[in-house]
Subunit: 208 residues, 2 copies
């Protein structure tokens, strides 16, 4: 079946975006082609408005606050010596929403299936290491400074995530007292019957 050329072009671009497969991209193309000039203008405006956005020079989170730093990095009540390393902004949002984490973040960007730590990601880790070196000694925890208290490598516990987590840990091992990852276990509301061996093993180990 021949697809109209402009839909093909639209789909070629949009299927490269995260979470949009080739079929969905075609579907979206047909939908926007049908919805008329107004909807398309609105879509273009929505994309254009993203130009207002800045990237935090410290944690690389996308933000629109006045300064160079994002809300979290410029919040003096956050513990600068505890750092969660996350893949993407939406993971940061998920972690912020539970309200349990009082440290700061480092967004390293999408982990690709084909490579371990891309050059851009290594640069972000370098900038984290440089920032950790500047940490003052903490009187409360008796720390000598220049190191993080804890780095939580909060990437997905998939095989690709695990490989990259190991590489990140390797990169940062001299810069922190402790390196942790999120706990593996049965998701709340999930069923033991459908959990794979690794999940169930993690749940057993971390039983409470």
């Amino acid at each position: 079946m021949r697809i109209p050329e402009s839909i093909r072009k639209f789909a070629d671009f949009f299927s490269k975006l995260p979470g949009i497969g080739p079929r969905q991209a075609i579907r979206l193309g047909f939908y926007l082609a049908e919805s008329g000039e107004g909807a398309r203008a609105e879509a273009e405006k929505a994309i254009e408005s993203l130009a207002d956005i800045k990237i935090c020079t410290r944690c690389f989170y996308v933000h629109d606050t006045k300064g160079e730093l994002c809300e979290i990095c410029s919040d003096s009540s956050r513990d600068q010596s505890t750092v969660a390393i996350i893949e993407k902004e939406t993971d940061l949002m998920s972690l912020e929403n539970i309200g349990k984490f009082k440290g700061v973040y480092l967004v390293i960007g999408d982990i690709r299936k084909k490579s371990i730590l891309e050059p851009g990601q290594k640069l972000r880790l370098q900038s984290l290491k440089a920032r950790l070196k500047e940490l003052p000694p903490s009187t409360s925890s008796g720390q000598s400074g220049g190191k993080a208290k804890e780095i939580i490598i909060a990437v997905n516990p998939t095989s690709v995530g695990n490989i990259n987590a190991a590489a990140i840990a390797d990169e940062l091992k001299g810069s922190t007292e402790k390196i942790t990852r999120l706990g593996i276990g049965i998701p709340s509301g999930g069923e033991i019957e459908f959990a794979d061996a690794e999940t169930l093993g993690g749940a057993m180990e971390r039983r409470t």
Copy 2:
């Protein structure tokens, strides 16, 4: 967690598109915000180019051929008296890809959960009825003309789809010799264990 305003606006629009949920829309917003001016310009261009597209005046399929009719409607080898009614263009593509259907189509557009046959969809069915009335008598099938040989209501066999299929059948009952729907059964490669009662019942009835 506060989301930057322009990402919120972007997500508001894009989460209204088919198959994009609020979370994915936010994710896309962050992604396009991060990917820089070039990627955003490309996205806007891809959307703009959809303006070239026409809608077939007979079957309402989106196309970019020269005439008023799409490739299928203007193909004289297709049987104009067998009509498949489908929801969306991608369904048409799926049916065309199997290469077994030699009739023509009517795209009625997305079936909504909240209503049965929207005004626009009724208009499309009216235009189909008008077109069927013009059908010449067929000597091979001994038909008197003015009616379709068969109308296949190829909407999804979901509860909403079934309600709408019944409404479509009702609307078209005077305009066709036969009204059919796609067969329910175990999907190829699927497992009997996970099939629900209706699927399994359909598979039993249609056993070969």
